[in-house]
Amino acid sequence: MRRAYRLSVIALAAMLPTTAIPALVGQARAATLSGGFDVGPGGFQGNFNPLAATAGFTWLSIYYEPLVAYDEKLQKVVGELASSYEVSPDQKTYTFKLTNAKWHDGQAFTAKDAKFTIGLAMNAKTGSVLAARLQSISSVETPDEHTVVVKLSAPTGSFLDTMTKVMMLPEHALSSIPADQLAKSTWWSTTPIGTGPFKFTKYVSDQYVELAANTEYRAGKPALERIINRYFANPAAAIAALRSGEIQFTYVDSNDVPTFKDDKNFKVIEGDSFVVNYLGFNHDSPIWKDPRVRKAVMYAINRDAIIKSLYGGAAKPANCAYVAEQLIPKGVDGYAYDPAKAKQLLTEAGWDQINGSKPITLLTYYTTPLATNVLAAVQAMLAQVGINVVPRAVDAPTYNSIVLNAKPDVAQFQMVYAGLQNGPDAGSINVGLNESQIPPAGANVVRARMPDLSAALNAALTETDSSKRDGRYQDVCKVMNTNLPWATLWVAKRYGIVSSKVKDFVWTPAPGGGPYQANPQKWSIAE
């Protein structure tokens, strides 16, 4: 009896710590948000250097900040470290008024830091991927501690868009490192400092990066104590971690969305991908010369059916590079699905003599299951009208090495299935369509040589009157819709999934991951 009593006391005593510990752990974890912030096309896993970042800004902008960023709808550029900015009437002088901000080490952020950072971003020696885009800067002046004046040699429509990617860096921490050694510095992944709402605490190689709240943040103390960015080999691995409760947020491919749609534990976040998907005609190949053939391709593809059945309705058909209403002129051709018309156009053009049923290589770097299904549908639809395409999916480096080659092998890509960023800055598509951008000069991989298209693009890019800019891009849309450098398909939506426990979370699938005003200091997580 006594023994039983003693045993039960011991057992109870042994249970105490096991019941107490989870409670403590629960509290410690309550204010931690873990996510796959670098999963998907907007991520850049393992990069810590914003100067070298082609993507990954969703994460970088939690601890670094640019002078200006997009609003969360990606519609206009608003102040971030600059409380306001002014553009001169001739579009050549930009004046940024800086806010009172502090680096994570307590030092004040000043105009000198801004000038230093722009200098780094302009200098190709630092490994900056923005150098070419900032070439039009002729001078950067700092009349006082809170003012930065950037002068351009010529009006540059995309200047502010580029400036959103210039994350401010501390001069006092980096000025001693020679420019050509900067990319090799271990500072980026060990002791970086920014001005953002969270500060860098540690990086565990290939596993995760951890940030802690910057309690001195100028817009208020963050609600979360920590944010953890977990690395995943692919979206599928991230979804496994999301389902098992290890993370609370990740990007997902659109065909994974339905499994979360009716799940109360998760919220689906939908956003415009700002990437237009297209079938690119390789204009160096004689088979696409006749515009009737290109039109036939447009009529032969049932875009509405593909969008409905494969994208679950989550894409907008595109009749030029744009789907944003203000960029679509009246009277563009909608190219409604009409296989009979496609066949007729091919007959008129003499397709049997041009190519007939010879296989046409359709190259793509899209390897997701969704893309594979899309290509199978496209292949079947084109086969119905007598165009025999053979899809070939390769990884992005292989694709780039084939299509960006200065002496391209046309046989390897008579057609491409690809995508191109078409916003938030409408000028983004210039690099893929202007005759001046044919590789190696740019990314006009389809080798489009269309004088009226190039002229329309140039006119839009050099338009200094911002009220006329949309009209200029409408002209670009019109030319594209008529000349068909590509068979434009659609602009798809992209998705993120976040746990219902997370409150005030702002995320949007911006190209390159942003930056946009996500206000991470407001994010919180319920017990």
Partner: protein, 319 residues
């Protein structure tokens, strides 16, 4: 023995040079270089910037010069910097990955050896029983199931559905290090990685023990009235284990292959994950460094296998 080992190591060094040449050539034959991997086709970059990057990485040099430059540095222990992370020296990057991989493969090997030998002996002793048959079916399934498939099924069942095990990583992010946490993360990938090896060892163990049990000296032992348990453990097992030693040595290569899949599915921070990520980004220096280190390991393991064999079987003389 020492002279033999030294000679083997000298041959190994020659093989490593040949291996590095082969990998270097194969990499250059692969379409796309590190800069091509840097570009997101949806978000093109300026060609001027790309050309600058190429030049700064020395990728514009003729191939033989690039190789000789690499070899010259490699011989002094400098394997260059990762292209994706220019702040990472390849040598320290690769060395930091050996630990996790050895831990994962070592655990898997221990599981495989214990399970394989136990099941193999049991199957041989109770041959053609129902248990033996079902083990045979399992072993066959184990040998035939590719690592990536069993990894995905295991992940789905034990972490996504049952929530028993973490879905990946080596430690819980943001927590202090603890052995329990490490083991919790280790069990699933190690067990899955051991499947193929365990199945192989089971099959060989069974066959080898059956062969030994038919030998004359076993019959003699039984005739002398030695208890069956001792017949098997003392007389038969030692001889039956000989081919298993060689087998375990030769499956290390198989295990490395499996580990690459398991590590990428479970995001285990070892050599396999490093290599897969490096191949995806065409990170030449990291691929060269990692394959070199893997090559060194395989050569050493093979040597150790042969030496162990000589120790276990007095009839074998090395040298």
């Amino acid at each position: 023995m020492l002279r033999y080992s030294l000679r083997r190591l000298a041959i190994g060094a020659g093989m490593l040079i040949a291996l590095s040449m082969l990998i270097f050539l194969l990499l250059r034959l692969t379409p796309g270089d590190p800069i091509d991997a840097y570009i997101d086709p949806n978000v093109p970059m300026s060609p001027t910037d790309l050309a600058n990057l190429r030049r700064s990485l020395g990728l514009d040099q003729p191939l033989p010069l690039q190789y000789l430059g690499w070899l010259q540095n490699a011989l002094t222990g400098n394997l260059g910097y990762s292209i994706k992370r220019l702040d990472q020296p390849v040598l320290s990057l690769v060395l930091s990955r050996i630990g996790p991989t050895v831990l994962l493969m070592g655990s898997a090997l221990v599981i495989a050896i214990i399970a394989g030998i136990a099941v193999g002996v049991f199957s041989a002793v109770r041959r053609n029983s129902l248990a033996d048959l079902s083990f045979s079916v399992f072993a066959l399934a184990g040998i035939s199931s590719p690592a990536f498939l069993s990894a995905l099924i295991g992940l789905y069942v034990f972490s996504v559905r049952l929530h028993w095990m973490p879905s990946g990583g080596m430690l819980t992010p943001g927590e202090e290090f603890s052995i329990g946490d490490l083991i919790h993360h280790l069990i699933l990938p190690a067990a899955l990685l051991s499947i193929a090896q365990a199945a192989l060892i089971t099959r060989y163990m069974r066959a080898s023990l059956l062969e030994v049990l038919n030998q004359d000296y076993v019959r003699t032992a039984r005739a002398k009235g030695v208890k069956e348990f001792w017949v098997i453990t003392k007389h038969a097992l030692r001889n039956a284990l000989l081919p298993i030693v060689t087998l375990i040595g030769s499956t290390v290569g198989l295990a490395i292959g499996g580990a690459i899949f398991i590590e990428s599915v479970f995001n285990w921070p070892g050599m396999g994950l490093l290599l897969v990520n490096a191949v995806e980004t065409r990170d030449y220096p990291v691929i060269m460094g990692a394959t070199l280190v893997i090559g060194i390991c395989v050569i050493i393991v093979n040597l150790l296998t042969d030496i162990t064999y000589a120790v276990v079987d007095p009839r074998i003389k090395v040298g």
